[in-house]
């Protein structure tokens, strides 16, 4: 696992930076529309970044694309319903 992280340091650091920026943007705003926009953009980035990484490593297939989409939809579903209860 550590070997894998060290081989793809730039990829993981950029992912962590974008996710952290997304968190700060969503957390610092009180505008519900903006918060949802940021989370949708972050989810889109996470899926696209992951798929691109697989593409560069020549191990991309349809199942992997579906996996990223499903996890993204899972996260978005939770965020949408959470925001509707506060």
């Amino acid at each position: 696992m550590l070997k894998r992280i060290s081989e793809h340091t730039i990829y993981y650091i950029s992912l962590i930076i974008i996710l952290s920026l997304g968190f700060l943007l969503a957390y610092s705003s009180s505008d519900r529309g903006f918060q949802i926009g940021v989370i949708v953009a972050i989810t889109f980035f996470y899926a696209l970044w992951g798929i691109m990484h697989h593409l560069i490593n020549h191990d991309l297939n349809v199942k992997i694309v579906i996996e990223y989409i499903l996890i993204g939809v899972f996260g978005l579903t939770i965020i949408f319903f959470l925001l509707s209860t506060i």
Partner: protein, 283 residues
């Protein structure tokens, strides 16, 4: 049962070396389940608010005493409840529900100062803190104290009076609880003791009439129920991805699946947002 759980959460031959819960069909089923459960919760919430609703227990007295406790600890004079500021706070909360917004300035440009002045409070200094989704007074005060701007407002020696409003209502079709804190001062701070004494006497009298509480006690608190369900789901998936990654690394099995670290990082972001947002928000 043990076999079923290990088949669901541990990668092995029987599940093609990928925890069964992480298979596409099961991920899809989990999403469908979450959608159905959330819709069901919303329906029950609308039809049976006494069973499932927002549990609120906030008294103005508590808000005032917690605010003054913080001021006392910071070495600042305590605030006095002012009925006109409480009226301004109530008008502000009502306006937010009526015109569907959550901000210091309304969509038509009404500032907090308009509400304060229209209630007859001719301030020298004025400030406003807003909180949404908090169901206890200490939760809101704690969040205000954690934010530098709100903390400065609460602890400012420029203010002598305070007014609160706690209202339940709907913004954009979502039931929520709003807490409005209006702060003000009618005198220049250097004006001396006399003006302050007058204000104290006058407002002590109004406070006894202003003590109110907003309480709603449904059988089940919808906000904690939802956030707990979401929290558990996300946590289960994070742990399953971790376990999956560790076991597969150990067994050195080649698979063509997404990167578990990506999923863990993304789900951690969702988990942190659940933790932060389920407490309520302030502006």
């Amino acid at each position: 049962m043990k076999d079923f759980l290990s088949h669901l959460f541990i990668p092995k031959e029987s599940n093609n070396h990928r925890a069964k819960i992480l298979h596409h069909t099961n991920l899809f089923l989990v999403i469908v389940f979450l959608l159905l459960a959330s819709f069901l919760i919303q329906r029950v919430r609308v039809s049976f608010p006494s069973v499932l609703g927002i549990k609120v227990n906030i008294s103005f007295e508590e808000l005032l005493s917690l605010t003054n406790k913080e001021r006392q600890e910071a070495g600042v004079d305590p605030l006095i409840i002012n009925e006109k500021l409480s009226e301004a706070a109530a008008k502000k909360a009502q306006d937010m529900f009526e015109y569907n917004y959550w901000a210091h300035n309304s969509p038509v440009g009404k500032t907090p100062w308009i509400f304060i002045k229209s209630s007859g409070y001719e301030y020298i200094y004025a400030g406003e803190n807003l909180a949404r989704g908090f169901t206890t007074a200490d939760g809101a005060i704690e969040a205000w104290m954690a934010s530098p701007d709100h903390r400065n407002n609460m602890l400012s020696s420029n203010y002598k009076d305070v007014g609160f409003a706690v209202k339940l209502g709907e913004i954009n079709g979502e039931e929520t609880v709003l807490i409005v804190q209006e702060l003000g001062n009618l005198q220049m701070p250097a004006d001396g003791d006399k003006a302050q004494e007058i204000a104290t006497a006058k407002n002590t009298d109004t406070f006894s009439r202003s003590v109110q509480a907003v309480r709603q006690q449904p059988l089940i608190n919808v906000s904690s129920l939802s956030s707990n369900i979401y929290f558990i789901f996300i946590l289960v998936f994070i742990l399953t991805f971790m376990l999956d990654m560790i076991i597969i690394e150990k067994k050195k099995i080649m698979r063509f699946v997404g990167h578990n670290i990506d999923h863990i990082l993304y789900l951690l972001l969702v988990l942190v947002l659940i933790g932060v947002w389920s407490r309520g928000v302030i502006i």
